[in-house]
Amino acid sequence: MASVLRMPDSRAAVQRARVIPGTPVFDGAAASRGYAINAMCFSFNSAENRAAFLADEDGYCAKYHLTPEQRSAVASRSVLAMLDAGGNAYYLAKLAGIFGLNMQDIGAQQTGCTVEEFKARLAAHAEEE
């Protein structure tokens, strides 16, 4: 147990970006890179804006000045691509909602399995010691 909980010295980690496998850390660089796509997603708190996006996706993305990488990530519906383009999970969830995707749908897409497999993996954790 102790070995799992032992961590590298945290002050040393401040000196360089911490790499956590499979886990994008939403830091200043990501927040800068992702500002436009996250701003667009923030606007989806409004039902009117969600409808406007669905009515004219291209126009809506242009209004928020998405970068070409962000625009293509949104067009592809790939969450991993949106994350690479600086998207933040909490904001992207609002976009996923427009597409009718829940957190298990998104989890399956990112981990390359079916939704049923993803749910089974979650449930399997309950059996761990």
Binding site: T23, P24, F42, Y91, G97, I106, Q110
Partner: protein, 284 residues
Amino acid sequence: MAEIVGGLFTSHVPAIGGAIAKGLESDPYWSPFFDGFGPVHEWLERARPDVAVIFYNDHGLNFFLDKMPTFAIGAAPEYRNADEGWGLPVQGALRGHTALSWHLIESLVADEFDITTCQEMLVDHALVVPIQLAWPATTDYPVRIVPIAINTVQHPLPSPRRCLALGRAVGEALRRWPGDERVAIFGTGGLSHQLEGKRAGHINKEYDRFCMDSLAADPEALIRHSALDIVELAGSQGVEILNWIAARGALGEAAVERSRNYHIPISNTAAATMLLEPREAVPA
């Protein structure tokens, strides 16, 4: 003198709000989570708090990335919920306690916490769902609230050590408040979960158990990890344990665990509910 009657620690997954809206509390998927609130409801009947100080994190309802406070405290007469974009029914406004908010603000700044103050503040599922869970039979909640939002969204996050210190300062300020309010402390979010990346679906039962075992008796154990250590251990959103750590600080030096429930999974989350009482509130 205000009395801190206890602390409620609970997951705040949006889907829980959806389940409440659909009346699914007894559904086999949901009941292992909702059933954990039996002892909490009995305790609330006895303890009768009339104020709730709630440590939580905003998920892009009130705060956008244009301005992202590390610690933000509400000082509003009421707090509205609003559309978060994923279909949760919007809940009614919650009553604030402005005089107590300003007392906490004065006290925290005197203690050199450089907080942000909010006279208007929308509150999202992370605050509203725990209130619904605590008082399921009504929407006329018996508490006025003081929301304290901790940034768990954009790194760098405040350190676990700083969150514990913030909570301790809040607790000391509450105990200095001359009113006779009965205060419940809420810490919301967690436990381990991760929504994004190739590690989406990450859950760490061992770390969660360590957190639950340490919360009452040894909160200092929780601050030996940095915020990024916790991201690695508990997942990107598992770092919401920062809200629990702050809430634990507010309970004071000694606390006793009164109930615990842990269930995997609720949505993508290892869901947990714990009830603690400060030791001085326990009858001899």
